[in-house]
């Protein structure tokens, strides 16, 4: 974890060096603040690293292990993939159909195949209700 912040802060510092210069006023004015933050984060990540290194017991270890147990990684990974799929088809095939598909597949994934009646019913009711509430009552322009 501290390593991640270390990499991020280095990345930020490099990115700030490549920022365009301001045309009016002090040309470096837009750079100072993010640069400062990058350096601050770099220092913090080192302190964090030392802190973790000195600690003998890892309180987070348990939580991480739980994350890798049983079907949990598959569940989270697939949920994220489904959400990505939803993002890709949302504007293409429209709100209603994509939401029904997304909702139904999520429910099948999480709630299980056995309760298919409940899953499909929830997906349909939810999608129509939200489409009605947002698209018709609130006049949000949905694709």
């Amino acid at each position: 974890m501290p390593l991640l912040f270390f990499v991020v802060s280095i990345g930020v510092i490099i990115a700030t060096l490549n920022l365009p210069k301001a045309r009016l006023g002090n040309p470096n004015a837009p750079v100072y603040f993010p640069m400062m933050l990058g350096i601050f984060l770099l220092i913090l990540s080192i302190v964090y690293f030392i802190q973790e290194w000195r600690k003998t017991e890892m309180e987070e270890k348990e939580a991480v292990q739980e994350l890798l147990q049983g079907r949990v990684p598959k569940l989270i990974g697939l949920s994220l993939l489904l959400a990505l799929g939803y993002t890709l088809i949302f504007e293409w095939i429209g709100f209603l159909i994509s939401t029904i598909l997304f909702m139904a597949s999520l429910l099948f994934l999480i709630n299980g195949k056995k309760k298919w009646m409940v899953n499909i019913a929830t997906a349909l009711i939810f999608s129509f209700a939200s489409w009605y509430a947002f698209g018709v009552l609130l006049q949000v322009s949905l694709p």
């Binding site: 974890m1 912040f5 930020v12 990115a15 920022l19 365009p20 210069k21 301001a22 045309r23 009016l24 006023g25 004015a29 837009p30 603040f33 993010p34 933050l37 990058g38 601050f40 984060l41 913090l44 990540s45 302190v47 964090y48 802190q51 309180e59 987070e60 939580a63 991480v64 739980e66 994350l67 079907r71 949990v72 569940l75 989270i76 949920s79 994220l80 959400a83 990505l84 939803y86 993002t87 949302f90 504007e91 939401t99 997304f102 909702m103 999520l106 429910l107 999480i110 709630n111 299980g112 409940v118 929830t122 939810f126 939200s130 947002f134 609130l138 006049q139 949000v140 322009s141 949905l142």
Partner: protein, 507 residues
Amino acid sequence: MGVDIQTLMEGFKTAMQPMNLLWVLVGGFLGTVVGMLPGLGPATAVAVLIPITFGMDPTSALILMAAIYYGAMYGGSRSSILLNTPGDGSAIAATFDGYPMSQQGRAGQALAMSAIASLIGGVIAVIGFIFLAKPLAEFALQFGPAEYFLLMVFTLSAIVSLSKGNMVKGFISMSVGLLLSTVGVDLQSGVYRFTMGIPQLSEGIDFLVIIIGIYAVGEVLYNLVSIDKPKGDKKSVGKKWITKDQWKVSKWPILRSGPLGFLIGVLPGAGGSIASMLSYTTERQLSKRQDQFGKGAVEGVAAPESANNAASVGALIPLLTMGIPGSGTTAVMLGAIIMLGVQPGPLLFQHNGDMVWSLVGSMFIGNIFLVLINILLLGLLVKILDTPAKILYPVIFVLSFIGTYTLNYSIIDFYILLLFGVVGLAMKIYKFPIAPLILAVIVGSDMEQNFRKSLVSSDGSLGIFFESTVSVVLLILTILSISYPFITEMIQKRRKTQDTAGNHHEL
């Protein structure tokens, strides 16, 4: 303007007209419902409901919009308490103790307390409005870039100091938030920073998308980890009303937070997020049972709720006395009343005084209505907790996406939402405090811009940050809030050594 009792009474009379009462009821109800959905805070609620006001008489329109506004403030904290998914920046502080309370089976009490606190905060603010609108508006004008910068630094330091015992993680969380706030166009120079050529990012990452991502999506993902585990006891809703003891500990926090929230609300641009977080941190530092905060202390729900509702009344002051919108929501309201032919501005009180006083009257009545609505809804709301987790979480997941879409109508936000969902999950697992990050995203860019504006106007001299009384007070408060955790730690340590010393004596 002085308080003319007669015009005030006239105002109340107008507000009591059946039609206007109906609008308050409708607005309050719609606001509460819309405000509960993730991503739909007061600004969106007012914006999407504006078409209803077309063709209405301006007074009724203003009454309706204001009712939607504070209705959404009430609603926003419902989801914070029940599901740990705040709908808006100002509802975040309600998660700190509200969610632990509902996990302990005290959701009913948390909701009831938040309704009562909101009512009292709102009433305090309405009274403040009646007597202090003009002088406060003048006071708010004294806030220049330097004062705004210091106010934001103070709020950030107060929030970071909450992560006592883990300051490094608190600071990391804050720095990441500040870095995120630099994405987008840099106002002072017009330079695009870190936008990666995506035009949607040119106005920055919408902080609401980050809130929904980290809280709602992150919470769903986090719950997937344990979703197959059999739940111990079924979470009960518990008592639906607060106890005498709970009232006792919350009484003063509510009465203190109301005026505080009201004052911060008056400052253009500061708003509910800063008000609720500052009142929370203040009450925690004043409290005798600090260790209970964050673990379901009832006054930790009461204080921010009182503050943010008072802030929403305060935010109307710059709009009505000077025609200056102080927040996103009031900007939308300004646009709507202009469309109806009213010119808000310094002359509004002279030209449309009856309208303003009717609004004040309606806010008074509206707050009472909202408590009734919320208490009636209480039974229905807590039913949400009875929904099986395996259905509830997919629903929240999808709702987060829809809510996000209503913000900017952009698919780019979906990717950002997912990214921050994962970030939220990681933060929960590695026990990083979330509030510093969110608050930093909300105030970060204003903070930087105000700092740079201060330096331009002082021709580069740092002296500008010590010039006014307000600045000096804010500086002192900042130093106090940062050193406070260290001081209490030291005192505790000393007590401990004394205790052990004492023990030795006895032995």
